[in-house]
Symmetry: C2
Subunit: 258 residues, 2 copies
Amino acid sequence: MTYCLGIHVRRGVLLAADSRTNAGVDYISSYRKLFDFSVPGDRALMLCTSGNLSITQAVMHTLDRDLITNSEVNLHALPTMYDIARYIGTCIRNLQEIDRPWLQKDKIDFQCSFLLGGQIKGEAPQLYLIYSQGNCIRSTPETPFLQIGETKYGKPILDRTLTYESSIEDVAKYALLSIDSTMRSNLSVGPPINMIMYHTDSFQIGHKARFFAGDPYLLKMRKHWEVALREAAASMPEIEWNSPVVPTGPELGDISEQ
Amino acid sequence: MTYCLGIHVRRGVLLAADSRTNAGVDYISSYRKLFDFSVPGDRALMLCTSGNLSITQAVMHTLDRDLITNSEVNLHALPTMYDIARYIGTCIRNLQEIDRPWLQKDKIDFQCSFLLGGQIKGEAPQLYLIYSQGNCIRSTPETPFLQIGETKYGKPILDRTLTYESSIEDVAKYALLSIDSTMRSNLSVGPPINMIMYHTDSFQIGHKARFFAGDPYLLKMRKHWEVALREAAASMPEIEWNSPVVPTGPELGDISEQ
């Protein structure tokens, strides 16, 4: 599995991803899933991949090849983020058409999905999720994040903290906590974690970070977070048990209804 | 969907469950999934159900009926928690045998699972997960909780905070936060939340609680938690971006490797 996260707030766009790929629990390996295709001054372009590795690698290969062989339709030539999202969707469809029947014969999962984030000169920053079927959706201020892969473990921290007005520093921390929570609870998501941060209207990548297993910052952060969670729970008002000890009678299995 | 949680720590056993049942997103209703079968002084028995509602209700019906019609094999007569876990497993198997072929014909999910927690005089407290196939596992101090249903959203908070030595008060808070996190992130899990707390060696239920939607304590807790999470992130050491702004060259798509 994989966990990739894109966040688009007023002040910027962040993409982050783990690096674990597995075919069953007994074949685990590490592949990078976060890519930077920016052209400083003209466009910031970040891409995350999830799903069948042979399909996502083939899509990445097509995107790379088109930069050399197709002067009009490529990541650097297309004029809008929407055009790029549709172009990646088309690449996915073309490869699905070739490989899907063969994978399907052996019941191999052929699904894949992509996150695309950044900004092209003349446009506002944007964040897209491109589905395995080639269609796409775009994030909005109401829901300033999109996820692909193993998404559930890392969603509560984002639902509880992130808003469109969050600061860039907070966004980076929330993203790292979201991925770390997923790694902590699910073996199929693992380090290194890659993260790229883009600041609105800068048209170049602001920061990159990579955290390996055992990274001192990651360990410090995890410790800090666990202590903070325990303290937050301890300082929470005590649970108001709304029914005293009631011996259960013959109306068995019935929790008291008051 | 459903989310049920069982926690077994040194000082007690807690079972908690939401109350939402859905057949698709356009048919959502509320059913209780947490049941108390205790006989004060002799045994504390708590049960949670998840999965196909017709199957879980049929199992509950069988358990209720056997209390009246089968004097030897029932929840109050069986001498150990293990016997009770196997007995529930047998009830599940019997009903699966009857209903499964009919459900399978129309591709209806026939899976179900149960949590069983409590203590019988002469034994230590125990917590079991009984699978749809009728087999069961028991919690251990290393992993002091078991979950059924929509388990992923509520797992990180438990992984980060709960230990076998946690206090009863903290356990109740962690459980409520775990369920609330799930409700917040997934529509298929919803209120009221039911919770039963058993204190080791008391042989009667210690506390019960029910939290309806809009319950003042639940709202207070949620607010407290979200503020605490934001503060914990704000007080976290700043992210150490490990690569300065590097213009990306022709080696496209390559995050700097230092």
